[in-house]
Symmetry: C2
Subunit: 390 residues, 2 copies
């Protein structure tokens, strides 16, 4: 049986991958009086007086909404909210398993940006954090921006920032191997959607200035024919030498290729034109921009993908559970750039430098110790950057 049929059978047997359970026993008048009426009136009144008390008397402190409209689901695209529920439940499983976070899928039955924002604002009091998931660009940018303006709990679009964090982690370790200082790198990011933008911003936050973003037409540069507003904005802040041209043209001499685009767009011939000790992260799923065998044949030294069946899997699951764990623990008001960079360094440094090899730059996805190191780094960065409330 292939993995798809097996998964279908598995889902049918489970009838749901998550479940809400009670943390208290109610089996007597006494226990009912404590957990429910009349005793419950007291924590209610305390929260009414001081809303912060909700973090003490309820589960808000550990509860995150996983919100999706189902428009950009994994490799499936716009399948609608209901059809995305198996993915969102899976994400909730990962949140719990690796971060001990109570995550609740919330599907929104609209594609209208304003409606999605208003719905989330309306239900926000329930939650300690908001994880946006699989919402298509450019709507995801506006939704996240508006929510961050209006909410004082973490709002995190994992497809953007989770991806950016694990890519930075992989890049940091790759550079330890090839011994290039990161500020000297020429990095090509192919794909200017949700993930591409966030990767570019995070690399720049980390001191890498020569970042060139490409879309299907080629490099984003100042003075280019108008594309969408996000692309124009990215052209302003990336590509310091204002390189122009298609991917095969601008990739010449690059140290790093990061693909968050579509399967097969990178050829062996293009890799051959890259600099010495080239690094290729081909993240498109399930078909990467270039298969590792081809990239190797083109001369790439360190190769990563999103897939678990090749070495160097660059997987979001290394980031988001620990990041939310850390953010929730200090009641962070946001997940800022400092916290993201700290998370990337924690992931990278979870492997000692002596153990790094061309085929081992990322820790295993199932290592809970990594998550705990990420959480600790995020707590510290939140405190240092002023985002921590406790």
């Amino acid at each position: 049986m292939n993995i798809y049929d097996e998964s279908l059978k598995f889902h049918e047997e489970k009838r749901g991958k998550i479940e809400v359970v009670s943390r208290v026993e109610v089996n007597s008048v006494q226990s009912m009086s404590l957990a429910y009426t009349p005793g419950v009136a007291q924590p209610c009144l305390e929260i009414q007086k001081d809303p912060d008390k909700a973090y003490i008397y309820t589960r808000k402190w550990n509860t995150v909404a996983i919100i999706s409209d189902g428009t950009a689901v994994l490799g499936l695209g716009d399948i609608g909210p209901l059809a995305s529920l198996p993915v969102m439940e899976g994400k909730a499983v990962l949140f719990k398993t690796f971060g001990d976070v109570d995550a609740i899928p919330i599907l929104v039955d609209t594609k209208d940006t304003e409606e999605i924002v208003n719905t989330i604002l309306s239900i926000a009091p329930t939650f300690g954090g908001i994880n946006l998931e699989d919402i298509s660009a450019p709507r995801c940018f506006e939704i996240e921006k508006k929510l961050k303006e209006k909410l004082s709990i973490p709002v995190f679009h994992d497809d953007q920032h989770g991806t950016a964090i694990v890519v930075l982690a992989a890049l940091l370790n790759a550079m330890k191997i090839v011994k290039k200082p990161i500020h000297t790198l020429k990095v090509i990011i192919n794909g200017s959607g949700a993930a591409g933008n966030s990767i570019a911003k995070l690399l720049m936050s980390s001191g890498i200035s020569n970042v060139i973003m490409c879309d299907r037409k080629g490099a984003l540069y100042r003075g280019m024919e108008a594309r969408d507003a996000e692309k124009q904005a990215m052209a302003e802040v990336t590509n310091p030498y204002n390189a122009k041209g298609t991917l095969p043209e601008v990739i010449v001499g690059a140290d790093v290729f990061i693909g968050v685009s579509a399967g097969g767009v990178l050829t062996k011939e293009m890799v051959q034109t890259m600099g010495k000790d080239a690094v290729v992260f081909a993240m498109a799923n399930p078909t990467p921009e270039i298969f590792p065998e081809e990239a190797r044949a083109g001369g790439a030294r360190i190769i990563g993908t999103g897939r678990s069946d090749y070495p160097n899997q660059i997987n979001n699951v290394l980031a988001f559970p620990g990041i939310f764990r850390g953010a929730l623990d200090v009641r962070a008001s946001e997940i800022n750039e400092e916290m993201k960079v700290a998370a990337a360094y924690a992931i990278a440094n979870s492997i000692s430098e002596a153990d790094l090899t061309d085929e081992y730059i990322m820790p295993r996805a199932f290592d809970k110790n990594v998550q705990m190191q990420v959480a600790e780094a995020v707590r510290k960065a939140a405190a240092a950057s002023g985002a921590a409330k406790v």
Copy 2:
């Protein structure tokens, strides 16, 4: 330590009365591939083709949203959404404990009827049912009505219908003791808010025609000075002899008094004017319309309250977990009058007639067998009334 201080300590120790857990283990590439990417794509695609498959491949079938704006919380009134969270978590505990339903509190941060409706419609795909909770009248009527029109999953306002169901159950058993046929009864319902209206409708659905509703000004009757739209509507369908007057005036000769109003509004003297074998259900919480000792002194034979420290507690928890259990099991499109009446009979009949006494007309709130009988009755009534989809 009193119950309120004890409850505060209890809530602080628990830091949340519910929790989201994973039903699957993810500790290997293989298990990740089944529960998440890439295998999860298959159930997604199946649901995209046939939305009903969400009931098979996800937890939707067993998941209910407990939605509140915090405007009419227990005895506390309008304390706002966040402060109501301890109550909503408590409700989720009862849903799980007695009905094995996964219930998720969702607080809505608005009092605007239209906004609440739109928010709920927007997030509805996630859920197998909607339980409205502690939303003040008359907004609760409009919200429920609009949701029922637009959604094909059960929408249930427990403060209305849950209360009505347990009151009808108590009434059925009381009448077995005093041996009055229910269609002959004169029933006074004091309180014309959410619960009062629903009780009146359910009693009428059960064959009791002489139901007189009172608000602070007295009986609702045809031709009365305009009050609110809901009250006008209830005046049209209740009070067949169009009795006029204040509570002390219309209660004369009544067989049953049902209070869903405010503490202390019924006096011993009023009870003295009721008919033989008078029944008094004084449901206001925590202070009933009349304390049982006083009602007894006034000549009432069977007395019920909402409190656990008196006999005959008339408690919603006997109804809503089993009702949702039954409705979810048959994927009911709604919870209709037939299902509610069936639930009331199931609660009443869970005590054998031989065991009934003046002080034992309702089963214990902690008897899971009662819930299972309610669920079974609801499944059957759903099938018989055409609401069951499977």
